[in-house]
């Protein structure tokens, strides 16, 4: 296939010819082409199918506003559905598939919908598919869903990577057309830090499209020269292929840079795209304007496109959809298209101008006061029917029709906060209005200034003003002479007729649908949009909204501004979800925190488990162990029989210092700390202000004015934040200083009857750690291994004689090795979080499953700890009646009556003989395990009035997991209830 519709000239690189494939056809194009321009040059107009009726469609536009020419770009895992052919840059080997058609683009079985369109009017599904009732989910919906959507995902993980980045500037200029370039030259040469962003690969905007000159140069040459000047300024960052997608609070903009989308694949290590968060002091929106069509019967055939786009393809890309074209316009700009195409050697069959006073043709016929009243051509336009001012009809042969209904300023970004556009009756379009995003000013066509001269001067004027406001002396560049044609337009929206005329082409919303919405009282503009789906397609109504409003205004007898506008929301153009995620995916979704003994544990073959961001050793399998329970049982039994070691570094540690440190702890813990002696540790329960338990841990008093507080692993961050709140906001004049030391110390629990003997081999001999010298709950600063400073705490989570020993983190690895070596004679065992959990359940200690954010000290069996002699956070509200009901939940132990059965966590408890339902629920199992010491399963549970129900047999039910058997209520202290081992 040759490039039959390739014209002369253009900004494409004819020195190179590249190949691409669309569906099963390979074709040729040139660097600088878009997929759409290359297809047009190759004589292809049909590029897609519409959403609902599967109507054949070609490109409507030459830019990111495109509703029709959307394809699946690339193959395999890189397949990218719904990609606009009009912005996809051609590269050698590009492949694209048409979408939403079967079996082929030219013959699409679901085009049957088009024949049945009478049934598929706006809102049809709300009225039907209800009979019989069961058929919706079984029959109707599956059929509807099968037809849903446009392109397909590959279902494979996206192989490309995305970066996120952050930029700072004095001035962000959005759009590098004449207004943006003039603004950037002015601001850049005035010394501002400037970012100039444009979605195109080539700066210049419509300067690259139009034939008129700037001064003595062509527009494209001036743009290229301006770009060179900007590139030479170190304070200007020119970002092409970068779409500013949203205006967020306080001058923050989101922008997507397509780094590698014009390449076959991204280079090694480089991202496909970068999502930039731009912090700007000021912004100039110079996003230009988008042409809008006129609505008429069968206005959607391939070959019918916006007149300015027809011109763009001819001038910039040297392509035309057909050798013979016509133009339908309500303004002078349509005539410019006719002139430009004629100059390129394209036959202009006629210009149909809705205005009675239309300009004269220059080598082509002008039908003044005429309208296009119908078209024909099954897969592409072949003829248009024109009705002239006197009402007589004739048919004109043409393969393309340029339509111009005027231009809409691109106000989208002005609406992302509270801005609502206002109607400008001079240009018959919405212009920026209401409250613009803080710091934003609008220049050029985006502000309704449509001439090139006005764009240049408004860009320069605004930039100069901003430079002055930001304390720079403004330097204004010499701007060239440019066209300054006044806009001549007489509004004309819609050629009335009996057949279907498309308003929103992608979603197949017709003028009739808009009228039906009105008839059914969906008159509010939001109702119109939602009822008909007008403006909800991938183009978000960039080319369709105004016509929809105009038709609604017509039927409602209102003006367009009275009908109103819907909200433009970010992103400006659809943006890859991967870009918003950046590098945070897969294993890098969140950082991984490793404990000081991690590398050692890996050597031991530990199985790791995620605990928040931490990876902790869950158990340490030994050769021959085939089930995790074998490992865990061994770790538990060996610890209780001799000694075990566990890395407990992940517990939060907060250094609390200052003269008021004790008073501060009195405030944050419900129990008392003021009288805790130096060298002693105390368990502390922290309440939220609402009286519910927040966290628990220990506070060790290292000096009169120095405590080390521990938190649970999960709550380390929130507890620290809470303590700072109390310190800064509630007790601003306490002398207390806080800092986290969680990671500063590697901390190991050494537990079991031989714990002391083991530690005595490591702790330097000058420190007495005998039971008398270092009793239960003692703490102190010591040295180990010949002088390494360390901290020792005699605290126990397991219920055994136990210590926690802390050394500077970088020695944690050496310390665990030394402890294990020293323990060899005691047959020491390393234990993981699973054994830790078993032992704490055996001991009846509450943990995360019990401190679940709804339980009180009373529920936990620690009601008496809430001191009434002092003020502490949460004390007052913990006294509310509902939290102190006679049948309040209490923490109890459970064991199965049939000892072979489990007591699974999450099961509910029922009184024997009562109905099994929520109304008779007595409580629930929080934590459960198999106790290798007792030889059966045990559990902790919250049970109504549990403290008075010891010995009662309950029915444990878990319909979800199929358990229903009896359990006995027992003390939660399954092992060593008197605590003799702790104190041994």
């Amino acid at each position: 296939m040759t490039q039959v519709n390739r014209l002369a000239g253009g900004l494409i690189d004819r020195s190179r010819t590249i190949s691409f494939r669309f569906d099963d056809k390979w074709m040729k194009g040139h660097p600088g082409d878009t997929l759409a321009s290359a297809l047009l040059a190759n004589g292809v107009r049909l590029m897609g199918r519409s959403f609902k009726y599967h109507r054949p469609r070609g490109p409507l536009s030459a830019g990111s506003e495109e509703p029709n020419a959307i394809v699946e770009l690339r193959d395999g895992a890189r397949r990218e559905p719904n990609t606009r052919a009009t912005t996809a840059e051609l590269f050698d080997g590009l492949t694209a598939q048409s979408q939403n058609r079967w079996p082929s683009l030219a013959f699409d079985a679901l085009a049957i919908n088009d024949r049945l369109s009478n049934f598929f009017a706006a809102g049809f599904y709300y009225k039907t598919f209800m009979w019989p009732a069961a058929f919706w989910e079984k029959l109707y919906e599956p059929i509807i869903r099968r037809a849903a959507g446009l392109g397909s995902l590959s279902l494979q993980a996206d192989p490309d990577s995305y970066d996120k980045g952050y930029l700072h500037c004095d001035l962000l200029i959005i759009g590098a057309g004449p207004a943006g370039l003039a603004a950037a030259l002015t601001a850049g040469e005035s010394g501002l830090n400037v970012i100039l962003a444009d979605e195109d690969s080539l700066p210049g905007g419509r300067l690259n499209i139009e034939t008129y000159g700037l001064g003595q140069q062509s527009g494209a040459d001036w743009a290229a020269e301006a770009t060179e000047r900007l590139a030479a300024l170190p304070n200007v960052r020119l970002m092409t292929r970068t779409t500013v997608l949203g205006a967020f609070d306080h001058g923050i903009y989101g922008a997507l840079e397509r780094v590698s989308d014009h390449l076959p694949v991204p280079p090694e290590g480089k991202p496909r795209q970068i999502l930039w968060r731009i912090y700007s002091r000021r912004a100039i929106l110079a996003a230009g304007a988008t042409e809008r069509p006129i609505v008429f019967e069968n206005n959607d055939r391939p070959g019918i496109m916006l007149a300015g786009s027809l011109r763009a393809y001819a001038n910039r890309w040297a392509a035309t959809p057909a050798p013979e074209i016509a133009v339908f316009t309500n303004n002078d700009d349509g005539h410019r298209t006719a002139q430009d195409l004629r100059a390129k050697g394209v036959t202009v069959a006629a210009v149909i101008d809705t205005r009675a006073q239309a300009p004269k043709g220059n080598g082509y016929e002008v039908i003044a006061g005429g309208t296009v009243t119908n078209t024909s051509g099954r897969l592409g336009l072949s003829r248009i029917e024109v009705t002239d001012a006197r009402g007589s009809r004739r048919t004109i042969r043409c393969g393309a029709l340029g339509v111009s209904g005027g231009w809409n300023p691109n106000v989208s970004l002005t609406c992302h906060q509270r801005g609502r556009p206002t109607w400008n009756a001079d240009i018959h379009a919405f212009v920026p209005g209401g409250t613009l995003p803080e710091g934003m000013v609008v220049a050029g066509a985006a502000n309704g200034l449509f001439s090139t001269h006005a764009a240049l001067t408004s860009g320069a004027d605004i930039a100069a003003r901003i430079a002055t406001e930001l304390g720079h002396s403004a330097t204004r560049p010499d701007l060239p002479q440019a066209e300054d044609t006044p806009l001549a337009i007489t509004p004309f929206w819609h050629v009335k007729g009996a057949k279907r005329a498309w308003v929103d082409q992608q979603n197949d919303v017709t003028a009739k649908d808009v009228k039906l919405a009105h008839q059914e009282n969906f008159v509010s503009v939001e109702h119109l949009k939602r009822y008909t789906t007008l403006g909800m397609a991938t183009d978000q109504g960039k080319t369709s909204n105004t016509a929809g409003l105009a038709i609604m205004a017509e039927v409602a007898g209102k003006s367009i501004p009275e009908v109103g506008t819907t909200m433009f929301r970010p992103p400006y153009t659809p943006t890859a979800i991967g870009a918003f995620a950046g590098r945070a995916r897969g294993k890098d979704f969140r950082p991984t925190r490793k404990t000081p003994s991690h590398f050692w544990a890996e050597e031991q073959g530990a199985v790791f488990v995620e605990v928040g961001m931490w990876l902790r050793a869950q158990w340490f399998p030994r050769p021959g162990e085939t089930h995790w329970r074998q490992s865990v049982d061994r770790e538990v039994l060996q610890t209780r029989a001799s000694v075990g070691i566990c890395d407990v570094t992940t517990l939060g540690k907060i250094d609390v210092q200052g003269a008021d440190a004790a008073a501060f702890l009195n405030k944050i813990y419900c129990n008392a700390f003021a009288k805790l002696p130096v060298g002693r540790t105390r368990y502390g329960l922290m309440l939220r202000e609402d009286g519910i338990a927040m966290d628990d841990g220990t506070a060790a008093r290292l000096a009169e004015d120095h405590f080390v507080v521990t938190t649970t692993t999960a709550n380390a961050v929130t507890v620290y934040r809470h303590m700072e709140f109390v310190r800064q906001c509630l007790c601003p004049d306490m002398d207390v200083q806080l800092i986290s030391t969680t990671e500063a110390w590697a901390q190991f629990s050494v537990a079991g009857p031989n714990a002391r003997k083991l530690l005595q081999k490591v702790v330097d001999p000058k420190f007495d750690i005998s039971n008398e010298g270092f009793p239960f709950m003692a703490c102190g600063e010591i040295t180990v291994c010949g002088g390494l400073r360390a901290r020792l705490f005699r605290i126990s989570f397991s219920g055994e004689l136990a210590y926690e020993i802390a050394v500077p983190t970088r020695y944690g690895d050496a310390m665990i090795r030394r402890l294990m070596e020293a323990g060899r004679e005691f047959d020491v065992v390393a234990y993981g979080t699973e054994a830790l959990g078993v032992m704490r359940i055996e001991k009846g200690h509450a943990a995360g499953n019990e401190l679940n954010g709804t339980t009180t000290a009373l529920n936990l069996g620690m009601g008496k700890m809430v001191s009434t002699n002092k003020d502490s956070i949460g004390a007052v509200l913990s006294r509310r009646e509902g939290l102190n009901a006679p049948d309040a939940l209490r923490l109890v132990g459970l064991r199965p009556v049939d000892r072979s059965k489990p007591v699974p966590a999450g099961a509910h408890l029922m009184t024997k003989g009562s109905p099994v339902d929520a109304a008779h629920d007595q409580g629930y199992v929080t934590s459960a395990c198999y106790s290798p010491n007792l030889g059966h399963s045990i559990a902790l549970a919250f049970l109504k009035s549990g403290d008075t129900r010891m010995g009662e047999i309950l029915r444990l039910v878990s319909p979800l997991t199929g358990f229903d058997h009896e359990v006995e209520v027992v003390s939660a202290h399954f092992v060593d209830p008197e605590g003799e081992r702790l104190r041994a």
């Binding site: 996206d158 918003f580 995916r585």
Partner: protein, 416 residues
């Protein structure tokens, strides 16, 4: 006018000229028996059930803008009854049952689609918590299933299980959960209420209450005073603003919740899925868009728009479990005002002012509650007693310490 197969065919063949307004644009009368403030899903449902179930008349719904313009028009369309606490679960299960019969009841196809909802489990503690929840659901008569990872992967073969930062250890499914075409809920209730004589009055903003001797006599509006025997406030995110006119401070903060939709894609997601280790949930609409969301932005806001950090956070969650959506494009982001309550659960109660009732505090979960909220609120308004499924939703539960705190986050609304 009833919608029927016959009518649909007749209209299709005769150019749709016979369809009338889905609801009348009523002009306000000087007084009503019931004035419902707020033409959202809940308000319209309340009016409908007052008329239908409680045989009341002289009912008006006042809407400051266009009906369905609040959260019923800007949510992620999910319905479910997978709640843990007995204060909530019966209510939401009642709601789910009403959804199941909604279309026949309203004669309006709101496309209730019970495609199922699945909450992923990533840790053993999460499995314990979800087991407790699933059991609570079943003990309250709802359905629940604990699914294995293999079962989940069979349904979602593109789920990231091999390279996951947080492994997937199963999930809690409720197969009767699903999605509903959200706008249609408002329109369906509006149409059905209108047919039962309810006046739906758009562009009528309540600017004050007329309260004498501790009794509310009616409301001041942008269209004049409207008298009422009973006034039911039902304005979600605007609750504090509205009730301040009655001198009330509420246990509510208004926050922004963002939601997102992708371009239309051929169907890939069978149901609703929620990532339990990040902030992401997702379903696919009948039009093919991936509809997804995550956490609230976290600061008080009435602006109906959010900021980038949460957008990124949500998309990170999406990519973490579905790395195949990287090349799908986010089409639109928007925000709604959430009436975040102090324990994450709603309030449906009388106020201390005679004749003035309150319904609010729905947090980010009001959509799924729409039918039951309307029903039980109508019950309260008509009978002055709470419906059996909504006895816990009282104002005084905070004073009494009877919070309904599903997440256990306490009195900080942005954490619920």
């Amino acid at each position: 006018m009833r919608y029927s197969g016959f009518k649909v065919i007749k209209e299709a063949l005769t150019g749709h000229r016979g369809w009338g307004p889905a609801w009348r644009d009523a002009a306000p009368q000087s007084s009503y028996d019931y004035v419902i403030i707020g033409g959202g899903g809940h308000g319209l449902a309340t009016a409908y059930y007052l008329a239908k179930e409680f045989k009341q008349a002289r009912i008006a719904v006042l809407e400051k803008g266009w009906i369905g313009g609040g959260n019923v028009g800007r949510n992620t369309t999910i319905i479910r009854s997978n709640y843990l606490l007995d204060g909530n679960e019966p209510f939401y299960e009642f709601s789910l049952k009403l959804w199941e019969g909604l279309e026949q009841d309203l004669n309006y196809n709101a496309m209730v689609s019970q495609r199922g909802i699945l909450n992923l489990i990533h840790t053993d503690a999460q499995r314990d918590a979800f087991t407790r929840r699933g059991n609570a659901m079943m003990l309250n008569g709802a359905d629940a299933e604990l699914m294995t990872t293999a079962q989940i992967v069979a349904r979602y073969p593109f789920l990231n299980v091999n390279d996951a930062r947080f492994p997937i250890k199963g999930g809690l499914a409720q197969h009767r959960g699903g999605t509903v075409r959200h706008d249609a809920v408002a329109w369906g209730y509006a149409r059905a209420a209108d047919q039962r004589g309810v006046d739906i009055i758009q562009n009528c903003e309540v600017t004050g209450f007329r309260i004498e001797n501790g009794t509310c006599l009616g409301v001041e509006t942008s269209r004049g005073f409207i008298g009422a025997k009973k006034v039911g406030a039902c304005v979600a995110g605007s609750s504090s603003r509205l009730m301040s006119h009655a001198g009330m401070r509420l246990p509510i903060e208004s926050h922004v919740l963002q939601a997102f939709v992708s371009e239309g894609l051929k169907p890939v997601l069978p149901g609703v899925i929620t990532f339990g280790a990040g902030h992401f949930y997702c379903s696919q609409s009948d039009k093919g868009g991936l509809v997804f969301g995550g956490d609230i932005d976290g600061y008080n806001s009435y602006a109906q728009r959010g900021n980038l950090p949460v957008v990124e956070d949500v998309c990170e969650g999406g990519m973490a479990i579905f790395p195949m959506i990287g090349r799908a494009r986010l089409l639109r982001m928007w925000g709604g005002i959430m009436d975040m309550s102090m324990d994450g659960s709603p309030i449906i109660d009388r106020t201390h002012i005679g004749g003035l009732y309150f319904n609010g505090g729905w947090c980010y979960g009001g959509f799924k509650a729409t039918p039951a909220s309307g029903f039980v609120y109508a019950h309260l308004l008509a009978t002055d007693t709470p419906h059996p499924t909504a006895t816990a939703y009282r104002f005084d539960r905070f004073a009494k310490g009877l919070m309904i705190d599903e997440k256990g986050m306490g009195n900080q609304p942005n954490l619920h």
